[in-house]
Structures are given as C-alpha cells and as structure tokens.
Amino acid sequence: MVDVLEAIKGRRSVREFRDGRIPDDHLMTVLEAAIWAPSGSNAQPWEFVVVRSRDTIEKIKLFSPGLFGDPDALVVLCVNKERVKGRGPKELVAVMDIAMAAQNMMLAAYSLGIGSCPIASFNKTAVKELLNIPEHVDPILMVSLGYPEKWPEPPRRRPLEEVVHHEKY
C-alpha cells in the first residue's frame, strides 16, 4: 500500500495493458474502496457491474470508442435512480457521487499496482442492453482495470497559483 498523496499524484489514466489477471481479492479491495466514497445525503446511489468475461468485454468495446487497450476487468458504475427519488434535484449529485466512488477505486487500484482509466465515451443504451441493466439504473462511467504496459508520463497540471483563490476569487 502507498501513501494517499503518493497515490493521488502517481495515478495515471492507463490505456495500454499487458496480460495478467487481477487477483479476485485485489478486485474486491478496489470495489470496497468505491463504497466508502462520500455521497449526497448518504444516498449511496451506486451499483457496480463488474465484467471479467473476455467475450463480454469485447462486446462492450464495440460500443465504447473511449475504451482503449485490453483491460483485464471493467467496472460499469451506475446510478440507481430509485435511491435518489424524492430527494430533490439529486441527479447531478448522484453523478458526483459516482465520480467520487470512481476516484476511490482508481486510487486503490494504483496502490495495488493496477492501472485504470475512467471512460465516459461509451454508448449508454448499448451497454445497458448488453449487461441487462434494468430501466431504473443508468450507467454513468466505466473504469477499465489491468496491469499497465507502461505508466504514462504525468500530464501538465494547472498550477496552484492559477486555480486557487484565497478568501475571494
């Protein structure tokens, strides 16, 4: 396990994977990290569809232009709309909850030497159909997981001085 800040700074979006099966317990650790993310009103609106079948991953790839490489596993992060019903304008908050769960997953993955990439560019209707996802559950994001062919160089970050505004904008 690595230090949190080290994981935050070291994580990269990995788009080339080498062969290698992620042990089940490591995958469960990654998923457990997801469920410990914060969520608005503690709604925990997430559902995670874990796909490891090569055949199914190949089918999903057909409808996912943003999915690069051959990951060992895919996690489709979904919002269960039943869990946010009657809670006011919660759709956007639920999407943020998913994003926070995804970040937890990717940091946990990195700490285990597993590469990951968040993917929003996929056809939601197609993936919903392929994975038998029910009507009241919407796929929002996918995270690909696998052992990196290489860890990409860090992209440029906007400096703190540019993005942090003290006391007022």
Binding site: E58, K59, K61, L62, P65, G66, S121, N123
Partner: protein, 98 residues
C-alpha cells in the same frame, strides 16, 4: 451467409460499430474527440489492411504515428492538431510518389 458469432469478431464489423457509435458519441463530446475518433478509425482500418496484406512501409509509419500520438488530444490540443497536419503531409508524400 456467416453466422452472427463470426460477424462480431470480424474486424470490418468492429470498425463499423466503432464508426456508428462514435457518430452518436460525437454529438455530445468535446469537438476534438471527432478528429480523435476519425484517426482512431484510420488506425483500425490500417490494421485491417495489414491483415489483408495491403499495406506498405509508409502506411505502417502512419499507423505508428497514430498509435504514438493520438492521446495528445487529452493533454496538448496544439500538438494534437500539429500531429493531424503531419499525418496529412505523410499521406500526400505517399500519393505524390505514386
């Protein structure tokens, strides 16, 4: 007629689904993802041509350029556009030499 299982493993079919899915995706995605999808499709097409023994060294070089630089779109917009210009220049060389 081929069966469906064969069809979904066919590289032409994979390219077809990529193109149609990308067409829908491009409606909502950042505008530079359009060019990214097109060069990614070009890369897939060159790979098919390779399998069919239809490439030449110059085309292999274009494939290598795409694979090396397509992700620039995520990090450096200016360099990505420069890379697209380089690709066109490489293609012109091929056509001119014919």
């Amino acid at each position: 007629m081929r069966n469906i299982k064969d069809l979904i493993q066919d590289e032409h079919f994979k390219l077809l689904t990529f193109l149609i899915t990308s067409a829908r995706g491009c409606v909502d995605e950042p505008h530079l993802y359009g060019p990214l999808r097109l060069v990614d499709a070009a890369s897939k097409l060159i790979k098919i041509m390779k399998q069919e023994g239809k490439t030449v060294d110059e085309l292999d070089r274009i494939l290598a350029m795409i694979e090396e630089k397509k992700h620039l779109v995520m990090y450096d917009e200016k360099e990505f556009i420069k890379f697209l210009d380089e690709l066109v220049a490489e293609l012109v060389k091929i056509v001119k030499s014919a």
